[in-house]
C-alpha cells in the first residue's frame, strides 16, 4: 500500500506529507508548541533563500556547461587527486545548511560523481571559514587548528570507507 502510494506521488511528497501529518498530530495535542515553530520556520526560510538561489545557479551552470562525460572525468572514478581537492575545497567554501546541497550532489551523482567525493564534500562542510573567529573565541587557536586539520584528514578516510561500504571502489 505504502509502496504503491510512494510510486504514484513520489517519495519526496510522501515524506513532506508525513511531516505535515506529524504537525497535525502535535497541533491536536499542543497547539502552542506548533505555533512556536512557525517563527523559527520563517527565519529558516529567509536564511536559506539566498543559498537556494545560489545552488539553483550552480546546478544550472553545471547542466549548461558539463555533460555527464565531463562530470565523470572531473569527479568520477578516474578523477584522482584533483577530484579530492575539488570535493574538499568545495565542501569548505560552500555555504548554507548541509541539506541544501543534496539536490546538487544527487544530480552530480546521477551523472557520475563517486560516493567517496560526495562524502568528503559533506564532511568538509563542517569547516566554515567565516565561523573560525567564533570557534577561536570559544576554544582558542590550537583547538581550532588541530580540529580543522583532523576534519580534512578524516573527510578523506570517511570518503574512502563510504565508497568501500556502498559497493564502489575508492
Amino acid at each position: 500500500m505504502i509502496r504503491r502510494i510512494t510510486e504514484k506521488v513520489g517519495a519526496s511528497w510522501v515524506f513532506l506529507s508525513s511531516v505535515v501529518v506529524l504537525y497535525g498530530i502535535l497541533a491536536s495535542v499542543d497547539l502552542e508548541l506548533v505555533g512556536n515553530t512557525l517563527p523559527v520556520f520563517g527565519k529558516l526560510i529567509l536564511r536559506i533563500f539566498p543559498i537556494l538561489i545560489l545552488i539553483f545557479g550552480i546546478m544550472f551552470l553545471t547542466n549548461l556547461l558539463f555533460e555527464a562525460k565531463s562530470i565523470v572525468k572531473i569527479l568520477g572514478r578516474a578523477s584522482g587527486i584533483r577530484g579530492w581537492i575539488l570535493a574538499i575545497s568545495g565542501g569548505i567554501i560552500s555555504s548554507g545548511p548541509i541539506y541544501m546541497w543534496y539536490p546538487l550532489l544527487g544530480d552530480l551523482k546521477e551523472r557520475g560523481m563517486k560516493d567517496s567525493l560526495i562524502a568528503a564534500f559533506l564532511y568538509n562542510r563542517a569547516i566554515k571559514i567565516p565561523l573560525i573567529p567564533m570557534m577561536v573565541h570559544y576554544f582558542g587557536w590550537p583547538f581550532t587548528i588541530v580540529l580543522s586539520m583532523y576534519m580534512v584528514l578524516f573527510s578523506i578516510i570517511n570518503g574512502l570507507v563510504v565508497e568501500r561500504l556502498t559497493g564502489g571502489k575508492p
Partner: protein
C-alpha cells in the same frame, strides 16, 4: 550547392532552455524534501531548550563523548549554534572530549536530515555515511584532546 550553417545563437538559446528546464525539474523533485526537513528542524529548535544539553551529561569520561556525539547527531543545524552550546557546556565543566564529539557530530551527522539524504543520495549511502561520521566524531574528539594534552 546550398549548405545550412547552424545558427549558434539559436543553439545557445536551446542549450540555455534545456539546462534551465533540467534544473527546474531537479528542484521540483527536491523542494518537498527540503520543506519537510525545514519543518522538522523548526520543530526540534522550538522544542529542545539549550539547557537540555548540559543536563544529560554524566561526568563519565567514556560515556560523555558518546552522549556528546549522539546529541550532536540528533540536533544538527548551524555550526554557530553548536559553538554557543559547546561554550556554555565548557563553562559548566563538561569534558572537552564530550564537547568536541558534540561539535563534530553536530555538523557531520544529521539524523533529522537522514530521510532527505536517503531520498536524494541513496538509502545505503546515507546510512553508511552518517554511521561512519558518528564513529569518526568520537575518534576526532579523542585525537584532538590527546594532541592538545587536555585529558
Amino acid at each position: 550547392m546550398l549548405t545550412l550553417k547552424p545558427n549558434s545563437n539559436l543553439m545557445t538559446l536551446i542549450s540555455l532552455k534545456q539546462a534551465f528546464l533540467k534544473t527546474v525539474q531537479s528542484f521540483k523533485r527536491s523542494l518537498p524534501i527540503l520543506l519537510g526537513i525545514l519543518m522538522l528542524l523548526s520543530l526540534a529548535a522550538a522544542t529542545i531548550p539549550k539547557s537540555f544539553y548540559s543536563a544529560i551529561f554524566t561526568g563519565n569520561r567514556v560515556v560523555d563523548p558518546l552522549i556528546g556525539a549522539s546529541m550532536g547527531s540528533i540536533a544538527g543545524g548551524n555550526p554557530l549554534t553548536s559553538y554557543i552550546i559547546a561554550g556554555e557546556l565548557r563553562m559548566q565543566g563538561i569534558s572537552m572530549l564530550a564537547i568536541t564529539a558534540f561539535i563534530v557530530a553536530w555538523v557531520t551527522v544529521g539524523l533529522i536530515q537522514l530521510p532527505a539524504e536517503a531520498l536524494m543520495l541513496g538509502k545505503r549511502f546515507a546510512l553508511v555515511r552518517n554511521g561512519i561520521s558518528f564513529v569518526t566524531a568520537i575518534m576526532i574528539a579523542v585525537l584532538t584532546v590527546l594532541i592538545l594534552g587536555w585529558t
